[in-house]
Amino acid sequence: MPGPIDPRLWSRASATKTYMVAGVAVGTVTSVVLVAQAWLLAKLISTAFHLQGLPGDLNAVLPGSENAAYPLGGLAPSLGALGGIIAIRAVLMWFNSWLAHRSAARVKSQLRTDIIAARLASPHDATLTTGQLVQVVTKGLDNLDGYFGRYLPQLALAITVPAVVGTAILVTDWESTLVVILTLPLIPLFMILIGLATQAKMDRSWRTQSRLGNHFNDLVVGLPTLQAFGRAAAQRKGLKINEGNHRAQTMSTLRVSFLSGGVLELVATYSVALVAVPIGLQLAFGHMDLMTGLFVLILVPEVYLPVRQVGVHYHDSVDGITAAEEAFAAIDAGSHPASQTDPADPSPANPSPAGIIFDAVTVGYSENTVLDRHSENTVLDRHSENTVLDEFCEHIAPGEVVALVGPSGCGKSTALHVLMGFLTPASGTVHAGGMSLGDPRWRRQFAWVGQTPGMINGTVADNVRLGDPDASDDALQNALLRAGAGDMALGHHVGDGGEGLSAGERRRVAIARALLRVDAGSDWMILDEPTAGLDADTEASVIETLRGSGTGVLVVTHRPAVMEAADRVITMERAEDRMSEVAR
């Protein structure tokens, strides 16, 4: 059984703590109201009981004359009070559900923002696909509704209600309290014992069961592939056998896992019987008055109800914790802040010369930034993408146009990602313009054009304006013109994923965006393969634009034309090639 509250969740729930405290308060008030309701009911029933009187003692309790003066034997005020109690309970019920929603909503909003902020903090590390991220942020987080809305309030009630109601019973009849005190802890105790006894079996069967259960999903989602190989119809036989196995396996798991629920109900319900029977006997021997007996009988189920409900909402807790774990995985994947300096130790005024300095920068990525499932990649892929930048040193002077070239996997793009602060180096330092990586003004020095430039929904103007939010339309038009896209309309619509623009047009929009950024004061243009897939003429115009921008340029490329145009070409080697050279 997972712990009730994840500390990371708890720390994010600070905004909701007020609501949760209020939730516990409402729970306490609810239990007091329940005691009052039980007391009124017991009083009404016992008084009415005595109205009819014991045989031969008809007028002992209420004299007939008085009795006739009031309707319902003078019990109307008590009935009215009971009505009031019920109204209060209804209001409390509504209020509780409102509180629960509020606390869930706060946490969800907080997590949503955190996930997206984490995604942007580590932007090149797409651990989750777009679909998965959308799933985590929308439906995934919705599972917290049940957790905050039902499970946690129930957990609070499971503590307050037995305490308040238990005290009420104790005051009235300590013997019944004894039964409650002895049986109530049995519920969690049995749950734990059964949980321990079944854990091994559950663990064993869980893997098999989920594999069998997912077979259908796997086949259906893979149907287009099966059909292309003419193998779809042939898989049916296997599916049928699998379905039989899945059902058998699931039922054997369920037989065990329902056991805890069954025992829970058994203990809770049988305890009511355990209290009721002795009360009956005490009454029969005249050791107790009727009102006390009824009061205790009505209250006893209320003690067990919230504890039982915790079991009922157990799935909400599992779903909620799973959702929270997914959310934290998404947040942790992105929480590698690109800072190598201690925040308490701001970069010195101007210790190093201007320009970009890589000093012994090492990046080893599979362990650091990618989830471990990816670390297995190397087993299969000869063209491994897990490049390692090893003790990379380079100084690039201000205004210099530098081409970064080398074979696949030599770490060219990685060097750019480190420079842009998308990736944290394992060791080494990076300086630019007298600042250390991690300086808040760091990114403002660079104008970035990625391999596949990202587009936001809106217009071409919206996309170019990312480079400088305050730019005028004329400035935008001018930037587009310099990027070789002078004929592109500013109002041209850009849809999901850059829909409406060809790959070449997207790159030109990105270059225009970068030029605008340079106009706004950036010192460097950083480009990753800006001319891949462009024809020679377009490539030439892009090169001209870059040279004409008047800023420093650092460009990763494998195109000869780009290398020729550069002031300097830095050739990088694959880390393992260098290693083998050293070994020789």
Binding site: L41, I45, A48, L51, Q52, L75, L82, I86, V91, S109, R112, L120, T130, V134, T138, F216, D218, V220, G222, Q227, A228, F229, G230, R236, L239, K240, H246, R247, T250, L254, L259, G261, G262, E265, L266, V267, A273, L274, V277, I279, G280, L281, L283, A284, L290, G293, L297, I298, N377, V379, L380, H383, E385, R443, W448, I456, P469, G498, A503, L534
Partner: protein, 538 residues
């Protein structure tokens, strides 16, 4: 236009599934019986205990209480025991029904051609829609059936003591168990519907941020985060309305239970005064409603689950009823001395009445890479499906010589061993043949690689690896003619270049038709056939 098949009502689908599963109705009856006994135990426990205590207060000989004490204890045990049995019965039945529905769905899908990009989401959704049958049985039909019977039985027993009290109890149960859940369902349906566009907007912004993450970070953009927060705020307000509905429903059920208790007390006291109700029975008629209404509290949730499950089953029904497109499985074709593709003046399309294109001419000879380009929706994939024999050509001449292999851009990696994944290409392939294919596809083959399980949706593999695994399938099957669908899509420049290079070598002598919009692919193609936007209606 396709002929609209008569819509299958979701309840008819449920009935059909019950027909298909042997003993399903008996099983369901047993589940209901156990559920009724479990709930009724809880109700009876309170009623009998009330009787016991009031009777005991009359101080009769203890012997007269024996029967009641035994019954109270039995009810105490019954609830947990019956509930356990009920859950096993109902889940077993639900799993059987689910198996039947899964097989039916698989049959329907396997016999309709799914090769089309927009189908991906549909398949993911249908998988979860099929699970709704479990909810229908366990969380909707069973609670309603069982609660209905418990309410009837309780009403009849109370009626033997006092008819007006029984009538009041019954009406309050109708309110809490039928009216409130139905009203809440209607209200929450409206609230949920209002949520849909906002949720869509949220998903859109998240997708946008994810796709453009590097650029947004590089340019320190804050407008997208602000947009996200605005939508989040809208969503929160819309969800608040939905939550208010649930809160009102829960409160209304408390009121219904309270009214039932007040009614019973008011009438009961009057009747005790009048001597028409025994004072011992007063406790029974007052305490029973409390326990009965507890049984009804789950029904609000059940009604909402019912709406969702019905909508899901409705979608499944549409899949089952849709007339099949094409024939599902591709025709393998037989090996030929002179492989190639000859498409002359062909009409292609998914439905005979609606050709996507007419007058298509495509000829691919051995050693040729022919690039097929054009905007999305212009019929590139339709042409591929026609060539593979997945759908019949609607006219003209389509001839394919030799075995055809298709490399999809999103070829599915199955959650099984590498061996079985490659054997999709040829199920009789030996280990040596598979290893050879893997190695030719550019993958490393360390010891034990064939038994490695590649995870769900191929998550153990990188994009480049997954595509190479798909190539190994074609190699192991010895496919002569290749159709490549966007082979470089979603790969970074370097991985794409390496893959393209290897593909070119592997298919040096083969006829290759490559669907693409990547300039790098067009550059190495021997010829290019550009399809313009669909000439609709021609």
């Amino acid at each position: 236009m396709t002929v609209a098949a008569p819509r299958r009502n979701q309840w008819r689908l449920v009935r059909e599934l019950f027909d298909d599963v042997p003993w399903s109705r008996t099983s369901f009856a047993m589940s209901v019986l156990c559920s009724v006994l479990a709930s009724f135990s809880a109700v009876a426990l309170m009623g009998i205990a009330g009787w016991l205590i009031n009777r005991a207060a009359e101080q009769p000989p203890v012997m007269h209480l024996t029967a009641a004490t035994v019954l109270v204890r039995a009810c105490g045990l019954g609830r947990g025991a019956f509930r356990y049995v009920e859950r096993l019965f109902s889940h077993d039945l639900a799993l059987r029904l689910q198996s039947v529905l899964r097989l039916r769905t698989y049959d329907a899908l396997a016999h309709t051609t799914l090769l089309s990009r927009r189908r991906g989401d549909l398949l993911v959704r249908i998988v979860s829609d099929v699970e709704a049958i479990m909810d229908v049985v366990v969380r909707v039909l069973l609670p309603f059936a069982s609660a209905g019977i418990v309410v009837m039985a309780t009403t009849i027993i109370i009626a033997t003591m006092s008819v007006p009290i029984a009538a009041g109890l019954f009406l309050s149960a109708l309110a809490a168990g039928v009216a409130v859940p139905l009203l809440a369902r209607t209200a929450s349906r409206a609230a949920d519907r209002a949520l849909i566009p906002t949720r869509g907007e949220l998903a859109g912004i998240v997708a946008e941020i994810n796709d453009a993450a590097t650029d947004l970070a590089a340019y320190e953009d804050t407008s997208r985060i602000r947009a996200l927060q605005e939508v989040d705020e809208q969503l929160r307000r819309a969800e608040e309305r939905a939550a208010a509905v649930r809160g009102f429903a829960a409160a209304a059920q408390v009121v219904a239970a309270g009214v039932a208790v007040l009614w019973s007390l008011g009438f009961g006291i009057a009747q005790v005064e009048a001597g028409t109700l025994s004072r011992v029975e007063l406790a029974v008629v007052v305490l029973t409603p409390l326990a009965l209404h507890e049984v009804l509290t789950t029904l609000t949730q059940a009604a909402q689950t019912g709406t969702r499950a019905a909508a899901a089953l409705d979608r499944v029904g549409q899949i089952l009823d849709a007339p099949p497109l094409g024939q599902g499985d591709a025709v393998a074709g037989s090996p030929s001395e002179d492989p190639g593709i000859s498409v002359t003046d062909a009409s292609i399309g998914w439905s005979p009445d609606e050709p996507v294109r007419t007058g298509v001419d495509v000829h691919v000879a051995p050693g040729e890479w022919v690039a097929l380009t054009g905007p999305s929706g212009c019929g590139k994939t339709t042409l591929a499906a026609t060539i593979m024999g997945l759908i019949p050509s609607l006219g003209g001449h389509v001839e394919v010589r030799g075995t055809v292999g298709y490399l999809a851009q999103d070829a599915h990696v199955f959650n099984t061993s590498i061996r079985e994944n490659v054997q999709i290409g040829d199920r009789d392939a030996t280990d040596d043949q598979i290893l050879d294919a893997l190695s030719r596809a550019g993958l490393a083959t360390p010891a034990g690689v064939l038994d490695r399980i590649v995870g769900e949706e191929g998550s153990m593999l990188s994009g480049g690896e997954a595509r190479r695994l798909a190539i190994a399938r074609l190699l192991v099957g010895g496919r002569q003619t290749w159709i490549l669908d966007e082979p470089t899509e979603h790969l970074d420049t370097e991985t794409a270049a390496a893959l393209l290079n290897d593909l070119r070598e592997l298919t040096a002598d083969a006829p290759v038709l490559v669907i693409t919009h990547d300039p790098a692919v067009m550059q190495i193609a021997s010829r290019q056939i550009a399809l313009d936007a669909t000439p609709a209606g021609e």
